[in-house]
C-alpha cells in the first residue's frame, strides 16, 4: 500500500510537467488549429530563464577573505550578499521562484512575437507545413540557446528552505516511510494552481467566453464583430507563458540543457493525442495518467514481472488507447483526422 502510494507521488511531478506542456499545446491547437512543435523549445527557454536569473543574482565581486586571518585571499562574493548579507543570500537561493517574474513577460512577448511574426502566415497552409515550420523554429531556438549557454546541463538548485523531503506519510497517517522531496510537492501544487488559473480564465471571464466561442465557431464570432484573431494571439501568448514557467520551475528537478525541450515534446505529443486533440481536460488528465503509469512501471516488482515495461509503458498505453478509442480519451470527432 505504502509502495503504491509512493509511486503515485513519484508520478505526480513528471505528470505535472506533461500536463502543463500538453495544456499549452492543446490551447494553441484548439484556438489556432496549429500543431506547435516548438512548444518543447519554449519549455526549455523557460528553464534557461531560471538559469539566467541565477546568473544575474550571482554576479560577484572580489572580496578579501577574512576567514583565514593573516592571509591576503580574495574570494568571489555575490553583490547581493555584500550589500544585504544573509538577506542577499536568501534572495539568491530563491532564484528559481524569482525567475517566474522574468519568465512571464519574456515568454508572453516571445509568444506574441512568434504568433504575429511567423505562425500567422501558416494558418492557411497544411498541418504538415505548420509542424515543419515550428519544428524548424525549435531547432533554431535550441541551437541559439546552445551557443549561449553551452551543451552541458546547468544545475539550478531549489531554494534552501525546500531542500529535503516532506513526510507526507505521517500527515496522512500512512506510516512514516513515505517521504517526498519538498520541491516536487511545490511543483505539483504550482502546476495545479496554473491549471486552475487557465481553466478559470477560460470559464469565468468574458475574454475566456469569447475565446471558447471562437474555438467552437470562429466564423460566427467574427460575424458578431469580435476581432477574434487578436484574442487568439493572446491565448497563444498565455500558452507560451505556461510552457515557460513550467520549464523554469522544473529546473531543480532536472538540470536544463538545450535538448530537454525535445525530450519533453515527444512525450507531450503522446500525452495530447492520448487525451484527445483539442480537449483541455483530456490533456491534463492524460498528462497525469501517463506520468503516474510511468512511475508505477518502474517499480521493481512490476519490472520483474514484465521486463522492459518501464521503458515502453507510455507508448504502449498510447497504442492501446488509440486503437480502442479512436480519438483519444476525451477527443472530439473529426479533429486532425485528415
Amino acid at each position: 500500500m505504502d509502495a503504491i502510494f509512493l509511486q503515485l507521488l513519484n508520478g505526480l511531478d513528471k505528470g505535472s510537467a506533461y500536463a502543463l506542456i500538453a495544456l499549452g499545446l492543446t490551447l494553441i491547437f484548439g484556438t489556432l488549429g496549429v500543431v506547435n512543435f516548438a512548444h518543447g523549445a519554449l519549455f526549455m527557454i523557460g528553464g534557461f530563464c531560471a538559469v539566467t536569473v541565477q546568473m544575474l543574482l550571482k554576479l560577484s565581486t572580489q572580496v578579501k577573505d577574512e576567514s583565514i586571518p593573516g592571509m591576503e585571499m580574495m574570494v568571489d562574493v555575490p553583490y547581493l550578499q555584500v550589500w544585504w548579507g544573509d538577506l542577499g543570500a536568501q534572495i539568491i537561493s530563491f532564484a528559481v521562484p524569482l525567475s517566474i517574474l522574468l519568465a512571464i513577460p519574456l515568454m508572453l512577448g516571445l509568444g506574441v512575437l512568434m504568433e504575429r511574426g511567423l505562425i500567422r502566415h501558416f494558418y492557411h497552409r497544411s498541418h504538415a507545413d505548420q509542424i515543419l515550420v515550428t519544428f524548424g523554429l525549435a531547432i533554431v531556438l535550441q541551437e541559439l540557446i546552445k551557443s549561449f549557454f553551452g551543451a552541458t546541463p546547468i544545475p539550478v538548485p531549489a531554494p534552501e528552505m525546500f531542500n529535503g523531503s516532506a513526510n507526507i506519510g505521517e500527515w496522512l497517517g500512512l506510516g512514516a516511510g513515505i517521504s517526498y522531496p519538498w520541491w516536487r510537492l511545490v511543483y505539483f501544487c504550482f502546476s495545479m494552481v496554473v491549471i486552475a488559473l487557465v481553466f478559470a480564465f477560460l470559464q469565468f471571464t468574458t475574454f475566456g467566453m469569447v475565446v471558447r466561442a471562437g474555438m467552437r465557431d470562429r466564423e460566427t464570432v467574427g460575424l458578431l464583430g469580435i476581432h477574434i484573431e487578436r484574442r487568439f494571439t493572446i491565448v497563444f501568448g498565455i500558452a507560451v507563458v505556461v510552457a515557460g514557467i513550467a520549464g523554469a520551475m522544473y529546473t531543480p528537478i532536472v538540470s536544463p540543457n538545450y535538448r530537454i525541450g525535445m525530450d519533453f515534446l515527444v512525450l507531450s505529443f503522446v500525452v495530447v493525442v492520448v487525451g484527445g486533440m483539442g480537449s483541455l481536460p483530456g490533456a491534463v488528465a492524460s498528462g497525469f495518467l501517463l506520468g503516474i503509469l510511468q512511475s508505477f512501471a518502474s517499480m521493481n516488482e512490476i519490472k520483474q514481472l514484465v521486463p522492459g515495461i518501464d521503458q515502453v509503458i507510455v507508448y504502449l498505453v498510447a497504442v492501446v488507447i488509440l486503437l480502442t478509442r479512436p480519438r483519444g480519451l476525451l477527443g472530439r470527432k473529426g479533429v486532425m483526422e485528415d
Partner: protein, 379 residues
C-alpha cells in the same frame, strides 16, 4: 529495363544514374568526394525515396520510419555474425524482416489517420528504441551497439571454405570487399535501382491509387475500394526501402546501435523528404544529400577554416564576421539546418525541387512543349 518508361522518365533515370555514378568526380570541388560521405548520400537517398513512397504518395506522415532502418542494420549485422560476410544474404534478410515488421506495424497504425497515425508510428518506433536499449540487450548489445567479433560463427563462410583472415574480415560482395569506393558503387547501383522502382511505382496504376488515397480517401471508399490495403502496401514497400538502407549502413560499417531508431532519426527523414520536395521523384534524394552534406561538411568547419575564407577582409570586419559565421558551423551546424529549413518552408513550401523548377522557368521561359520536361517529378 528502360523501354518500360515514358520518354521523359527515361532521360531522367539516365541523367540520375550518370550523376550518381559520377558522384566522386562531381562532388570533389565541394569537398564531398570521399567514399564515406558518398555512401551516406546513397543510403539516405534510398531511405528518403522509400519514405516518399508512403508520405509523398499517400500523404500518411509516419514518424517512426527509423525503426525499420535500425531493424535492417541489426538484421544485417546478425547475418554477418551468424551466416556469412557476403552482403547479399544480409540485404535480403534485412528487407524481408523489415517487410514483416512493416506489415505488422502498418496494419495496426493504418487503422487511424492524420496525426493519430503519426503518433502510433512514433510510439512503435520509440518502443523499439527503448527496448533495444534495455531488455533486448542480448540481441542488440544495448548502448554499445552490435559489433562483429573475431570468433563469430559465420557458418556459411566456414561451410564454403572461405579463406580465414587474421582479425575481423570485411564485408564483401562475392569476394569484392565493400570498403571505400567499391562500397560506394555498390550503394550507388542499389540507389539507382531503388530510384527506378520508385519511378515505376509512381507511374503505375497502383501509384495512381496511392495518389487517390492522398487526395480523397472518402470518395475512393464510396466507390467500393478498400483503401487500407493500398496504404498498407505502400507502408510495407517504404519499410522495405528503410530496411535496405539500414542493411547498407551495416554493409559499409558493420555496426548497429539503437540511436538509429531514435525519433530524431525518423524526424530526419521527414526533413529530407520535405526539404527536397514531397511527392517529387528527385526531391527526396536531393534533400538527403543536402542534409548529410551539411551534417558532415559544415560540422567540420572551425574558426581556422573560417579565417581562411574571410581572410581577405580587414580585421576590424573580419572578427565580427567570423564570430557570426562560427555560430553556423562546427557544433552549430544544426542552426544552419534550422534556418535553411525555416526559409524553405516559409518561401518555397514545395522544397528544393519547386525552387529549382521555378528558377528554371524564370531563366528559360519555356515553349509549350517543354512544359512537361520542366517539371519531371511533379506528377
Amino acid at each position: 529495363m528502360m523501354n518500360t518508361l515514358a520518354k521523359q522518365d527515361r532521360w531522367m533515370l539516365l541523367g540520375f544514374a550518370l550523376a550518381v555514378l559520377a558522384g566522386p568526380v562531381l562532388l570533389k570541388p565541394f569537398g564531398a568526394g570521399y567514399p564515406d560521405l558518398l555512401q551516406k548520400f546513397c543510403i539516405f537517398g534510398i531511405f528518403a525515396i522509400g519514405y516518399n513512397i508512403l508520405f509523398g504518395l499517400t500523404g500518411y506522415l509516419s514518424f517512426g520510419h527509423a525503426a525499420f532502418l535500425g531493424l535492417g542494420s541489426y538484421t544485417a549485422v546478425w547475418s554477418f555474425k551468424l551466416l556469412t560476410m557476403n552482403v547479399v544474404p544480409a540485404i535480403i534478410l534485412s528487407v524481408a524482416i523489415a517487410a514483416v515488421f512493416g506489415l505488422l506495424i502498418g496494419y495496426l497504425s493504418l487503422r487511424r489517420s492524420g496525426i493519430y497515425f503519426s503518433i502510433l508510428t512514433l510510439a512503435f518506433a520509440q518502443m523499439a528504441y527503448n527496448l533495444a536499449y534495455s531488455v533486448l540487450t542480448p540481441l542488440t548489445n544495448g548502448e554499445t551497439g552490435l559489433q562483429l567479433a573475431k570468433n563469430d560463427a559465420r557458418t556459411w563462410d566456414r561451410f564454403f571454405g572461405v579463406p580465414v583472415v587474421d582479425g575481423i574480415p570485411s564485408t564483401n560482395f562475392f569476394g569484392y570487399s565493400m570498403v571505400g569506393y567499391s562500397g560506394f558503387y555498390f550503394c550507388a547501383v542499389l540507389l539507382i535501382l531503388s530510384f527506378y522502382i520508385s519511378i515505376r511505382i509512381t507511374r503505375s496504376p497502383f501509384g495512381l491509387m496511392l495518389k487517390a488515397v492522398k487526395s480523397n480517401q472518402n470518395r475512393l471508399k464510396y466507390t467500393g475500394i478498400n483503401t487500407r490495403s493500398y496504404a498498407l502496401t505502400a507502408f510495407v514497400i517504404s519499410g522495405c526501402y528503410a530496411g535496405l538502407a539500414g542493411a547498407l549502413l551495416a554493409v559499409t560499417d558493420p555496426l548497429a546501435g539503437p540511436d538509429r531508431m531514435h525519433w530524431s532519426a525518423s524526424g530526419e527523414v521527414v526533413l529530407m523528404t520535405i526539404l527536397g520536395g514531397v511527392g517529387t521523384l528527385l526531391g527526396p534524394v536531393l534533400g538527403a544529400g543536402v542534409i548529410k552534406y551539411l551534417e558532415n561538411i559544415f560540422s567540420s568547419f572551425n574558426e581556422q577554416i573560417l579565417h581562411g575564407v574571410f581572410g581577405f577582409l580587414p580585421s576590424a570586419i573580419e572578427h565580427p564576421v567570423i564570430k557570426v559565421a562560427s555560430l553556423f558551423v562546427g557544433e552549430g551546424w544544426e542552426l544552419t539546418l534550422g534556418v535553411l529549413f525555416l526559409v524553405l518552408i516559409i518561401f518555397v513550401p514545395g522544397g528544393l525541387m519547386q525552387g529549382i523548377n521555378s528558377l528554371q522557368r524564370r531563366l528559360f521561359p519555356a515553349p509549350a512543349h517543354a512544359g512537361a520536361d520542366a517539371t519531371p517529378g511533379a506528377h
